[in-house]
Symmetry: C2
DNA sequence: ACCTGAACACCGTTCAAGT
DNA sequence: ACCTGAACACCGTTCAAGT
């Protein structure tokens, strides 16, 4: 077994005594939400649980395994509805929005998308739900997987840099003039970019990003639907 | 100035003496290509340059700045053609493929997309080139930005998990049976997923991913084109 | 202007030892 | 079965000191 993942080995069977894996993962997620990916260390997490730092290695082989567990818990917050009632486009849209919101709520998870494969049970459940939506739409065979991969790619690809922007820009939104000045400096050689920065300046950035996400999602759905009719 | 980025402060002016920033960034990229994101440490990089580990702090305020520099160098490898000759769809397609290939060549950069804003001159050049393509297509105003963001999101969203998969699965591709067994275990509860795993098993995974990327890209372009005609 | 080395405050992980 | 503490081999960064 050259590759490793928590999901590919048997969990430690245990009765009631001792700490549970859920308890540890829950505390980890809390710490991650509060302090970000760099804020999670085995020592801090141990302390939070009132235990020695190295006790955790009884439940988890490595820190990466812990992150895999926490990552899948994030997938667990994504909600998928039955496509039969509302139609596949609405079902996919709602799921896409849910995925985006969940990532935005747990910014550290954006980093993990590029670091860990999503093999946990919750990730599987979400993928399967989306696959079913595309089957309802009329996709068959490999194109079901392709459509699922495509839409997931769009959602994550849109959300990941959003998170990067928010976290590096921190709370600088207090002073939009300063921020605009910075962007102006960086885009100095591209007059058209400057224009659009000025244009957006009067809108709430959150609103703009929402509009942008919906624009792309609509395009994505139209493009996928087109695959069905030709 | 609450937020920080190499691109938002004046670089250190220097004549010929001493090391140059380019030299340092070049060595960093080499190290990153060879050993990955975790393989780059200030000490190792210093050693590689025949210098003390802390000398680098003369040229760079922090390791993150160094990564910003290296990241933008990756953007520098992406090539954009003039849309006037080939038409906007082909120009955008070629750029999308170029972006994907460059990321695959520098897997560590996939992680950075979610960590650093792309504010460097090369990132700006690529964004501006894509913007021009969409202007040629007929987009105007805000939709130029939306289309650019949408397509970029798709490309990165598709490529980032691809990299994650490759790096965690390492060289396990030697033994496809083992890998298939692993996936089968994880997807045990989803019979349809199992089916498609079996189906893909006889194809080269690289080919499948290429097909998937083109499927999604085509859909994306169709969907964007549709925005123009209504 | 450029570079050094020592030092600080951290890391993840291993392992022998305890209960 | 579960937890501990000490220890190892690392980190990024600061800073006084050198040339």
């Amino acid at each position: 077994m050259q590759f490793t993942s928590v999901w590919l080995r048997e969990p430690r069977r245990s009765g009631s005594p001792g700490r549970s894996r859920d308890e540890i993962v829950g505390a980890a997620v809390e710490l991650l939400d509060r302090e970000g990916l760099d804020g999670l260390s085995m020592r801090k997490l141990g302390a939070k649980l009132g235990a020695g730092a190295t006790s955790l290695y009884w439940y988890v082989a490595t820190k990466d395994e812990l992150l895999e567990l926490a990552y899948d818990q994030v997938w667990g917050e994504m909600t998928a509805h039955d496509p039969d009632g509302v139609g596949w486009r609405d079902a996919v849209s709602a799921l896409a929005h849910s995925m985006r919101q969940v990532i935005l709520r747990h910014p550290w998870s954006a980093d993990l998308i590029g670091r860990l494969p999503a093999l946990g049970p919750n990730a599987m459940r979400v993928s399967d739900a989306m696959r079913r939506m595309f089957k309802v739409a009329g996709f068959t065979g490999t194109t079901v997987d392709f459509a699922t991969a495509t839409l997931t790619a769009y959602v994550f690809g849109m959300t990941i840099p959003e998170v990067a922007w928010d976290t590096t820009m921190g709370e600088a939104q207090h002073d939009p003039d300063e921020l605009r000045a910075a962007v102006r400096k960086v885009a100095a050689d591209y007059p058209e970019m400057l224009e659009s920065v000025e244009m957006d300046a009067y809108e709430d950035p959150r609103t703009v990003r929402e509009l942008c996400f919906d624009f792309g999602l609509l395009s994505m759905l139209d493009g996928l639907e087109r695959r069905l009719t030709t």
